[in-house]
């Protein structure tokens, strides 16, 4: 199976090699949450809901009295993958992804402004078609903004596939979480053997993706603010 058609230069799904998947972001999809968002990247679709800042529920978890406690749970719906199977809750993979998402969001949340409080971020994968953790981070950013939680920057995430850079077998991908204004990488995950130069190219590509997503997310948020403003006027 060729990932990039050598004649046309298009990928299997009809995209150009460095074209990003279709993005869709929507704010306020879970009525009772303090903030929520839906984010789609191609066929990957996730929902994030934010509850808080609220009182710390379990005092034992409070890290210190200076910062807010941020918690995160990542969950996949049983029907989110092609083959249906029961997914055990709290397996090793979702525990790690929860940790990764939590620490990535912590890099942008101004936790010192909300001491002794707790912020819960829940992400639910409805459809998994690659890049779920990136989609979750983008959804979480939108949901946090929707909840009005102070952030120092918009953190977005994008994964770049290697397939179309060099026609190597397998799909080693690099996932980057990026703080756009600060121009800094907070999340970086990669597994595959790559020469360092190639890695740099892929990482740069993923960073470009993050910047594009940040632009999109900013648009969604602006649009939402305009809508809210309209509603207030009436």
């Amino acid at each position: 199976m060729e990932y990039v058609n050598p004649l046309t230069g298009f990928r299997v799904d009809g995209r150009r090699p460095n074209e990003m998947r279709q993005l869709k972001g929507e704010v306020g999809v879970v009525a009772r949450a303090d903030g929520s968002a839906l984010f789609e990247m191609g066929n990957t679709r996730v929902i994030a809901a934010v509850y808080g800042p609220r009182e710390v529920q379990n005092k034992g978890q409070q890290v210190n009295s200076k910062d807010a406690l941020v918690r995160c749970e990542y969950r996949m719906a049983d029907f989110s993958t092609g083959d249906r199977r029961r997914k055990p809750k709290g397996d090793r993979r979702s525990t790690e992804i929860s940790l990764v998402i939590r620490q990535t969001m912590e890099a942008s949340i101004l936790t010192h402004l909300m001491p002794r409080s707790q912020i819960d971020i829940f992400v639910q994968v409805l459809q998994a078609d690659g890049g779920t953790r990136a989609a979750c981070i983008n959804a979480a950013t939108l949901a946090l903004a929707d909840a009005g939680i102070p952030m120092r920057d918009i953190v977005t995430s994008c994964s770049a596939d290697l397939n179309y850079i060099e026609d190597s077998a397998g799909g080693p991908d690099v996932t980057v979480g990026f703080l756009t204004k600060m121009d800094k990488v907070t999340l970086l995950q990669m597994d595959a053997k790559l020469p360092m130069d190639t890695f740099e190219t892929v990482m740069d590509l993923a960073i470009e993706g993050c910047k594009a997503i940040a632009n999109y997310i900013r648009e969604v948020l602006l649009e939402n603010t305009r809508r809210l403003e309209c509603q207030r006027d009436h």
Binding site: V29, V30, F79, Q127
Partner: protein, 284 residues
Amino acid sequence: MVGLSEGEKHFIRGGIAQDLRTDGRRRLQFRAISVETGVIPQANGSARVRLGATEVIATVKAELGKPSILHPDKGKVSIFVDCSPTAAPMFEGRGSEEFSAELCVALQRCLLGGKSGAGAAIDLSSLIVVDGKVCWDLYIDGLVVSSDGNLLDALAAAIKVALSDTGIPKVNVSLSATTDEEPEVNVSDEEFLQFDTSSVPVIVTLTKVGKHYIVDATSEEESQMSSAVSVSVNRHGQIRGLTKRGGAGLDPSVIFDMISVAKHVSRQFISVLDSETLAAEAAE
């Protein structure tokens, strides 16, 4: 889950007693319902149902399997429910398991019939491909995305719509191998068979608050309930299942009363659901 002050509780109960609920509805009035079909393309059928701020997704996946030895002429259907923590922080971790299981059992009771599969809302013998060898296994998954009360009715409605949205691939069995060997099965990519979903019921839950009962309770209203009776009714007005929750006892005559009210309400509910489904299918 819901933190209410004494005044708020009083207001809710008083409103119900006067047939004017906090959101302006009458006691036997549903919230606005919206339906979307085909929301999960990987599934054979799927639907999203919103009842006010409650939102659920139901999917149907069909996989080829082997019929059980006891019922070689029937396919299998199973139902699972999961409550996402996005709906409420209390569903975090294992917090949703107990509640999900309760919803799941209630749905199984209404849809799957007896142990033998007799009386199931889905004709299990229509799922058979080769007697005793190959059948379709249907996996019905319900996911609660946002919760504002009346999850059971919303899930049952979503499952009903998802089932009517479901297309099962047509299967060609090669005749040569119908003897002892594993039959060769050819699953078609183009032709799909639809279910007969006419006998799939909806569930109407009557929640008793004070002396009265209401339909489609919000979570604030549910927090004030003494008991709730869920009645599943099909298109023909037949009762398919009955579940009572909550500690308080009910006089049998009240239950009969509730059943007939549920039957009456279900007729309207089914017709609203039907028209919404048609609109959703047209929009898809």
